[in-house]
Amino acid sequence: MKKIGKHNINTIAKQVLLIGNPNVGKSVIFSRLTGVGVIASNYPGTTVEFSKGFMGSGTNKMRVIDVPGSYSLNPISPAETVAVEMLERSIKEKNSIIINVVDATNLERNLNLTLQLLKKDIPMIVALNLWDEAKHIGISIDVKKLEQILGVPVVPTVAITGEGIKELVKRLHEAEKGIYQYDDKERWHEIGNIINEVQIIKHKHHTIGERLGDLTIHPWTGVPLALIILLVTFYIIRFIGEGLISALFEPFFENLWAPVMMGLSRMLGSTGIIHDLLIGKLIDGGIDFGESFGILTTGLFVPFAAVLPYIIAFYLVLSFLEDSGYLPRLAILLDKTMHVIGLHGLAIVPMFLACGCNVPGIMATRILETKRERFIAATLMSISIPCMAQTAMIFGLLGKYGPQGLFPVFITLALVWLITGNLMRVFIGGESPEIFTEIPPYRLPYFGALLKKVWMRIHWFFLEAVPFVLVGVFIVNILHTTGVVSFVGRIAAPLITRLLGLPLEAVGALLIGFLRKDLAVGMLAPLGLSLKQLVVASVVLTMYFPCVATFVVILRELGIVDMAKAAIIMVTSAFLIGSLLNLIL
């Protein structure tokens, strides 16, 4: 029997699905199997979309799919729906096997999904992941016996170090359809029986992680700790970001790149269309990387010297927070606050991601249960959360004024977040579901994996953002030389000058803001604005409309009708707040 099974699977299996509860390490196993980097973190719901990759070669080549985590086959959030649909499709196509990734530290709960999967008509193998952690906390599992009971291969793994992965791959062809028979009503009873047979818990002592877990979750200690952690986070980001700029990136541009550009400028005759496109305007006979606006000067300076250092700093800190397991605890502490804006605490995770870039932030709203929550969350983040690229530019522009320059911008945005969110909660019908989530144990981030994750995000920035900035600088020049900026400026004059108190040329920044917000903020630099004008412009640029990348994602996630509604909220609130600031500052 077994031999025939093997044969069948070998010839038909073209696809492997990684299925399991949230936060059991599916994405790490996926990376191990395929070599494809995907973001993995220590909280449930990191993966909201499936990722594809390939393993093996030649005739043995198989597609591997990392499926969002699910607690059962009755989906609750859109991320879980993706998982169940993926599974059903693969069962129909009869070309797939499942790797059911199971958290060995939490076998009982995980077996609930395993038993449901066993009833499906699809071959399966179990990866008993987090095997080291289970041993560490005194849980021992009789793998052979579990294998016998379930009738499918079971392989202990430690995905993060790669332990057991070879064995898992070697035994993939042994994957089989489950033989375990049970009455669905008696599922938990059956699970209890299995647990009694295969699992022994030796002793359960309070680990340091658990003590820390208690402190960070009790309100009296948790709230002050959260404030400290957020403040420290902010200072570390500024420290690393500014440090990299002043010690590395700025000297490089000023001392090494500027002379090269000056040479090129002379070669091009210091004037002309090509010169202006590549080098930009010479300021006092020299290159000003902030104001010249040539592709090779400002076009490179903005992404590399002004933005990249903060991107590196932000993602280092964010990745550490993600992998440590702190974010779900913050979600619990902030749950009540988040209900003010019609969301529950877990929505803090997408909000955090949005501080880096709105695109992954909006994708992550898929962990929220209802369409209403996702609309509120996505609209709020595109209105009031500037991405790290934009924040870096605002720091660059307003940082020299100190708190006087930065506070008005960020406090305004925070108030907008709170007030707009609250208004949406009141005016958009529907209920706000309550928080219901697993809190992962604290884990010391695995350094190699953390760096790899940071690198992946920076890599994404290089691929997606840098070309956009370069194209953006090109378009800025075209807009100016063709007179589009002054034309639109004259049409929009009442709005821009009267309401917002900005010069007409600022309209150029609003046009480019749709392409890249960081570049748009950069366009304010040559305009010689006052502090008040800089504050107004920074706030309006954040609020008035999402950049094109964010726009596309919102359109896809919310649909055209909701996108239109969100856009109306954005434009009106941006001009409302902008003119209000212009009046009171």
Binding site: Y71, N112, I137, I332, L333, G345, E434, F436, E438, P440
Partner: protein, 79 residues
């Protein structure tokens, strides 16, 4: 022992779930996280102003909104 709900338990107290007062959807959701009649759990913490409650079930820590926690009926262990 009298039956109380999860919100009435004290932090650190253990108890066994006797019932979940809710529709099929809520029962299924709680069950999929391992909270179901017959299970022992330990309450870990509460938050200010009817914030979420956290419990330990087996080795897992779970946060439950106040309204949902009120539907989980338990028999607390005598202190």
């Amino acid at each position: 022992m009298p039956h109380i709900d999860l919100t009435q338990m004290k932090a650190g107290q253990r108890g066994s779930v006797v019932a979940i007062q809710g529709g099929h959807g809520m029962r299924a959701r709680l069950e999929s996280m391992g909270i179901r009649p017959g299970v022992m759990l330990t309450k870990l913490s509460t938050q200010f102003m009817r914030g979420p409650i956290t419990v330990r079930v087996g080795t897992a820590h779970i946060a439950i909104g106040f309204g949902m926690a009120r539907r989980v009926i338990v028999t607390p262990e005598p202190e």
